[in-house]
Amino acid sequence: MFPPIPNPPVAPTSPGFSDKDLIRRSASSVPAPATRQTEVAKLIDVSKCIGCKACQAACIEWNDTHQAIGVNVGVYDNPADLTPEMFTLMRFSEWENPQTNNLEWLIRKDGCMHCEDPGCLKACPAPGAIVQYANGIVDFVHDNCIGCGYCVKGCPFDIPRISKVDHKAYKCTLCSDRVAVGQGPACQKACPTQAIVFGTKDEMKEWADFRIKDLKSRGFENAGLYDPPGVGGTHVMYVLHHADKPEIYANLPRNPTISPLVELWKGVGKYVGLGVMGLAAAAAVVHHLVAGANRVSPEDEANAEKLTEGRHS
């Protein structure tokens, strides 16, 4: 068993990281030097998950969200999708394994992956609305959020949701308030089978190896860790029994990257754009200096008068 993290402190404790521990800040730069802290990670072992939704309940209770009561749409997934009030969600897939002809009920806890290279942060136009702490946590700063939804387009995992109430973006914070005092996120604390564990990223990889060995011994020869390099790795990782087919787990992207469109738009795009506009303006100025004003001459007026002579309106 992964040793439990001791119960939370109730005495005032100073946070383990703060604004001066930012390594990335949306639409702005971080005050150097941004020194790296020990990276944290949440490991979700799908092969141990029983889909009980304790993580969802714990998330709601800790973050004081108010998800509305929905309806049954013919599946166990409730709510049917992530919402501004539901930061994490069990997604259930019924998959018949072609090799064994056995049914496998694959249950994946969806939510923010806390990418090392966060697409949301890259896309965000509001300075400081999205930050990445030195321990890897990607967090939304709601005071700075303008609700444009660019983060939604920047995210390779379709995670952020915009609130219809306050028009701000919401997602899992990895319980930054808990991690700040040495706790794990609420979902991890609750998880009955320890399908969710939390610690430093190195520990999590070590633990994942331990789990993958067990899975391989049970015939899941493709068991593996999901820590996609396309986004520089993530601070939420999965152990999958079929790591060769991430898409069978409710469309987990095979090789997620920040969309090239977003890269183009938020990369060269914005510089080229400014450049082009600048050039146009400059060209005008230069032309005026060279060519000077294009003035109507007295002759022109005279010609006009001549043309209109004798005609009375």
Binding site: P4, P6, N7, S14, V40, K53, V179, G182, P192
Partner: protein
């Protein structure tokens, strides 16, 4: 007395795999550090902890109630959060979706707060005082017992039973409540006396 157990917990007796997380180690540098703009101040600070047991299934997970105010000091206490007890051998701090939402059952909009009576044929509950309610109940019980108590059966054997009123004992109450209930009800000779063991 329940608070004295040290929090060393299971870190000493870690199971297989890695030997406990180094969480405490990362980040903690500057003691003066203020919470970052995005980080909520830790909401359990200055709450009172009370060890309790989850009310639902018989796994009986250990939980900690966090409250504003301390009953042990004779104050009124409002429970503000409930979380699993990491020191508990069975659940190790974990909770199921019911346990993880215990706070919302304690604070449920449909908690009962006052004695109510629904009069015969009426379509609503009306408030009633505890005294009135208890006297009504005892009156009905006694009248029925006096009327239908069986001291001797046909064969003349002393049987001292009462089978025209009954009780369904709780399943979520303590052993102590159970024993008080047993004494009070059995002493009346009541036989239609059951609990939820079956469902």
């Amino acid at each position: 007395m329940n608070m004295e157990l040290s929090r060393r917990a299971f870190l000493l007796t870690a199971g297989a795999g890695v030997a406990g997380t180094a969480l405490g180690a990362f980040g903690f540098g500057d003691v003066e550090a203020a919470y970052a703009a995005a980080i909520r101040p830790f909401k359990l600070v200055n709450t009172t902890e009370t060890r309790n047991t989850c009310t639902y299934c018989s796994v009986a997970c250990g939980i900690i109630l966090y409250s504003k105010g301390d009953l042990r000091k004779g104050e009124t206490a409002e429970i503000t959060y409930i979380e699993g007890d990491s020191d508990h051998p069975t659940n190790r701090g974990t909770l199921c979706p019911k346990g993880a939402a215990l706070l919302s059952i304690v604070k449920s909009k449909t908690r009962l707060t006052y004695p109510m009576v629904r009069r015969p044929g009426s379509d609503r509950f009306e408030r009633i005082s505890w005294d009135e309610a208890l006297d009504k109940i005892v009156r009905v019980l006694k009248d029925d017992r006096d009327k239908n108590f069986i001291a001797l059966n046909e064969a003349g054997v002393t049987v001292n039973r009462w089978v025209t009123s009954g009780i369904l004992a709780a399943s979520a109450t303590t052993n102590e409540t159970a024993f008080a209930t047993y004494k009070v009800m059995r002493s009346t000779g009541m036989l239609a006396f059951d609990n939820q063991a079956r469902v």
